[in-house]
Symmetry: C2
Subunit: 406 residues, 2 copies
């Protein structure tokens, strides 16, 4: 189970139900594909397992993708560290960083590797460049590419067409699923399925979140979205995730919120600014600013209840160093730090909520990601913007083309 407790003032449910209807309209229209992925992605699991079964030699899965094509997978890789099959390693290349490229390639034996080139449009310059650099690095014959590469892309994209041309297998992203909402499509399902993660539970978790929202009418998502969208002087939204395993999730959260909700609307500029921290680490960093700086932030704490595999902090007595008076294990200490920080912020009258996951497995991860996708859609509707496009980044792409030409 995933429990979301809200510590700021809620509004009457009737105030927000109209937005629920609008989201429902989006779902029914069929134009926004991500809502339905927990169903539409089911056949992919079989297709993925079928494919990888024949690739007995593969030990390394290398995902090449930018933004939405890798963020979600990275989030799940970090969260589900101990839940993949033992015999396959997942690597992710998500930047035009020379250092990162070689630090991955140097670890690989080509004959044990399968590269997943992921690009929704099929023409992302970073991805195409990395694709060529990998071919060159391993001196792979063009006629042999089909042995080492798989494409994940929209049907009939340039990448798909090239795949047909070269005999490379393509998995398809539904055309009505946008990049940053695509983690539960082929973008996430294929690599995670290849690595032995429990993708079925992932989809079931997402479905449970859908049911809680649309069938059981749980109101937390709408309450939170309404609060964030109407408190315009608190438009910085901090996610404070307790444990290093949330590093990838934090990046995914930032992409989802920033790219979905930062939009021009006529002459107006609208947007929520996401910030993501890791606890307890960043109590020694950003926390001071939240406590004493301008009150322009909301804070969501994210924590995991399950402490089963965490060691007890041993009661070694030193002459000069402090002792903990009780026996606590390391994860309990982490959660106590989370609670203490939360109470400190509530006492400053800041808008706080906490998401507590019972444990960290595929089901809960699927629930959590779907929760934030629904939350983003709700905010977009309340702000009156198009949540699903990203017109602002096109200018830079045009300038880049000109720079590269000259």
């Amino acid at each position: 189970m995933l429990k979301n407790s809200i510590f700021f003032k809620k509004v009457e449910f009737s105030t927000i139900t109209s937005y629920a209807y609008r989201i429902n309209d989006e779902v029914q229209s069929g134009e926004i594909g991500y809502y339905h992925l927990f169903n539409t992605s089911l056949p992919l699991i079989e297709e993925g397992l079928e494919f990888i079964k024949k690739q007995d030699h593969v030990r390394n899965i290398v995902l090449i993708g930018m933004g939405g094509s890798s963020c979600g997978v990275k989030a799940l890789k970090d969260m589900l560290l101990n839940q993949k099959s033992k015999d396959k390693e997942l690597f992710i290349l998500d930047n035009t960083s020379t250092y990162s490229l070689f630090s991955v390639l140097e670890k690989l034996n080509l004959e044990e590797s399968l590269f997943l080139i992921t690009s929704k449009t099929g023409s992302t310059i970073e991805v195409v460049s990395l694709f060529k650099l990998i071919i060159d690095y391993f001196k792979i014959e063009i006629s042999n590419l089909k042995k080492y590469f798989v494409f994940i892309t929209d049907e009939n994209s340039k990448l798909h067409q090239e795949g047909e041309n070269l005999g490379i297998k393509s998995f398809f992203i539904p055309s009505n699923v946008g990049g940053r909402f695509s983690v539960l499509s082929a973008v996430g399902i294929v690599p995670l399925c290849f690595c032995g993660y429990d993708v079925k539970a992932l989809l079931e978790g997402a479905k449970a979140c859908f049911d809680d929202f649309f069938i059981h009418k749980k109101e937390e998502i709408l309450q939170k979205a309404y609060h964030y969208c109407t408190h315009k002087n608190a438009n910085i939204n901090v996610l404070f995730s307790y444990d290093d395993v949330f590093k990838g999730f934090n990046e995914w959260y930032i992409q989802l919120i920033a790219e979905s909700l930062g939009k021009k609307q006529g002459y107006k500029r609208i947007g929520l600014t996401p910030i993501a921290l890791i606890g307890a680490r960043d109590q020694h960093s950003f926390l001071q600013l939240i406590m004493d700086g301008p009150k322009n932030k909301t804070i969501t704490f994210l924590k995991v209840k399950d402490n089963e595999k965490s060691p007890i902090i041993p009661d070694i007595h030193f002459k000069f160093l402090d002792s903990l008076s009780n026996k606590v294990n390391l994860h309990d200490l982490l959660n106590a730090q989370c609670d203490a920080t939360m109470h400190a912020l509530i006492s400053e009258n800041l808008s706080v909520d906490v998401i507590e996951m019972e444990k960290l497995d595929a089901w809960h991860a699927g629930y959590l990601m779907y929760y934030y996708e629904l939350f983003t859609s709700a905010c977009g509707i309340m702000l009156g913007i198009n949540t699903y496009n990203q017109p602002g980044v096109e200018v830079g792409k045009l300038i880049l083309k000109n720079i590269l030409k000259s």
Copy 2:
């Protein structure tokens, strides 16, 4: 060389000189120790080298420290990846994360490991807990701790006293150097020196920045600080660092700005909100919000000119995929992406500046970090706050004590 180009409107130099005098007063007073570390840390290099020379068996240096006790080292580890000695690995534990603890400990052979326990006050609960967990994990006899541990702390702290008691070597942080300004003190010098980094060049780079500011009167730091502190509707300061090697530096930047400049001043709440991104990756994420969202952000681009070790993107021709018309190498592509994004943001009339490092070595890293420390001091003076304390985090610590007692 490190070049800082400013694209927003500068003020008359006479407007900002008074602040330069105030910083000069801080330097002269001797109360703020970080200003002088490029001199005062010099003897540490010899002391560190002397110590590690006798530890021939050590292959793994494990730093345990929170916030300022690890952030700077992590930044330098990431930036100077290829410049350490080949035979030693540096690990950093900076959180009460069960996963992170074990993922490091499982890689270690105790007899080849040296653990550096870093805590300025000597009583950081996370650090003391990890210290005990490590002792327990490896079943080290208390009388043997001196073989495996080194302390880095203030003179006469609890940790130093315990070190005396147990025969463990302590290196000292000057009492007038605060945690987040301590990277060039024993906090950074000792572990980096142990791992064979060129710490002398690091200090020389810092000295060069000092000279540029105080002797050559370069004005960029003051111009930028003045702009940030006076444009109150643009109080979110984005650092857009191009290359994955800046991940650690980004965290350090966030700690430095957030914890130094987020302060209460009577009933007023003051602060700049730092955000740090990685390019080109986050062009597919946060950029949309900067371009089209509220104009409440300044943006600093950070890039490295040197492209020497980067591979040419091969001119492989595909039937359907785009080709680059010119031969560029991967790092040039990254820098072209940086330039394109920069021009796109300038055309939106946002406050932009760019820091270009000639190359990425210890000298440039030292310059860069000192640049941001001076910048932070300048902002603190302009905002009229105490830059060097962190009163806001004490409340949480008190609540934590109560939670752990009950």
